[in-house]
């Protein structure tokens, strides 16, 4: 008789790592997306170029390859990261690059008249961005950010290949020890799905809160 309770506990521990990785990854991706996304529409050509290189690099090379590179190649130049830090950094930077395009698109999408009004009111560029452009653009970004967060959650499974004991890793462990395949994998699929639902519910609630009071503005 297999002690399923113990194995379920093992998978739940992995679920904790997966959740932590998703949260930390999002915390990295969020500021990175704004810096890179606004960098791409900067006045200064150097900033634009740097942001473009970052975005194209992380979007162009697969996340799986990036993770291997960070974990196996960076130690050669003396940067040895723990699997968790390597995983969170790669996830954050990768999804941040995708989200940067969302930021850029939303900021560009703010009607031209809003910018002209800012100039007419003599707002500084920072004031215009902070008080006029971003509050409107942010509402547009949110639903896509929700999708990005779910993509990040799904991408966390990849860290199992650099021996970080996330949910996928633990399921493999259970498979190796018990020979059972359907139960561990189906369990983690359900947990991933539940996490994805939680993320989309959170983002929808956040969106509803932020749209409040914007009637008539858009």
């Amino acid at each position: 008789m297999i002690n399923w309770l113990g194995y379920i506990q093992l998978i739940l521990q992995g679920a904790g790592i997966t959740a932590a990785l998703t949260v930390v990854g999002c915390l990295i991706a969020f500021p990175v997306a704004f810096v890179a996304g606004l960098g791409r529409i900067s006045r200064h050509a150097i900033v634009r170029a740097a942001a473009t290189v970052y975005i194209e690099f992380f979007r162009g090379t697969s996340i799986f390859v990036q993770l291997f590179w960070v974990f196996f190649v960076l130690p050669l130049v003396g940067i040895a990261l723990t699997p968790f830090v390597a995983g969170a950094a790669v996830l954050g930077l990768n999804v941040g690059a995708y989200a940067a395009e969302v930021v850029r698109g939303a900021v560009i999408g703010v009607p031209r008249a809003q910018r002209e009004a800012c100039i007419a009111l003599n707002l500084s560029r920072f004031q215009a961005l902070r008080h006029v452009i971003l509050p409107q653009a942010f509402v547009v970004m949110l639903p896509t950010f929700g999708n990005n967060a779910i993509e990040l959650l799904k991408a966390t499974a990849v860290v199992s290949v650099i021996s970080l004991s996330d949910m996928t890793f633990q399921a493999q462990l259970v498979r190796n020890q018990t020979g059972a395949t359907a139960i561990p994998f189906f369990t983690i699929l359900l947990i991933y799905f539940a996490f994805a639902l939680v993320i989309s519910i959170c983002f929808r609630a956040l969106e509803q809160r932020l749209v409040r009071g914007l009637d008539g503005v858009r």
Partner: protein
């Protein structure tokens, strides 16, 4: 960390063989995803709830769970019920199914943008549902969404390294083999990254062409 060109000279033919498998997997996955997406979108639009509900749930579930775990599921669970897929087939089926759920959404946007009058006209001409889809709706719905479809094909291409986790010897699988055998990660991992970067930059140019070519005329 020093770059060894003679080592590169030794390994590139092996990586090239892997690249061929990567392209094969992408093309086969693409065919499956394009066909599967069409089936899913037609099922989801069915007026019979017993058909449309399960199809919607399937789409949501597949989109909310990691491709890597789905690949493990196909690779480890199916043999237990007597379906033994070769690694490449399992990989292609996984990729194709995963992306068919994304592509179904793209088809849906194309179909929703077809004017309602077209459906009514088809009904007035006494066309069967199949004739309506084949000769009226799809020829109008597909061209505007070709750039979005191509975008997902590129995204799928960048996820093929995951296939190495189910022992498919595509480019990443070969690179991991070489790296583990020689204990040199720098060159194989960097070359794989460069391969994906070059391919996706090329694809970006192609995408821009498609966007111009199939731009919706107003």
């Amino acid at each position: 960390m020093d770059w060894d060109w003679t080592f590169v000279g030794e390994i590139w033919p092996v990586l090239l063989e892997g690249a061929v498998v990567t392209v094969e997997a992408t093309l086969l996955g693409m065919l499956l995803a394009l066909a599967g997406g069409l089936v899913l979108v037609v099922l989801r639009r069915s007026s019979n709830k017993l058909v449309s509900r399960p199809a919607s749930l399937f789409v949501q579930f597949v989109r909310g769970t990691p491709l890597l775990v789905q690949l493990y599921f196909l690779f480890y669970v199916l043999p237990d019920i007597g379906i033994l897929l070769p690694p490449l087939v399992a990989g292609v089926v996984g990729l194709g199914l995963h992306y068919s759920t994304y592509i179904a959404e793209v088809y849906r946007s194309g179909i929703d943008n077809t004017p309602a009058g077209q459906w009514e006209a088809a009904k007035a001409c006494n066309l069967t549902p199949f004739q309506t889809w084949r000769h009226v709706i799809l020829p109008q719905a597909i061209p505007p969404i070709i750039p979005a479809l191509a975008n997902y094909v590129v995204a799928m291409f960048k996820e093929t390294p995951l296939l190495s986790a189910v022992t498919v010897l595509e480019i990443m699988g070969r690179a991991r083999g070489i790296a583990d055998y020689n204990y040199r990660y720098l060159e194989p991992m960097t070359l794989v990254g460069a391969f994906f970067l070059a391919a996706s930059l090329t694809a970006a140019v192609g995408l821009r062409y498609l966007e111009r070519r199939f731009a919706v005329q107003h």
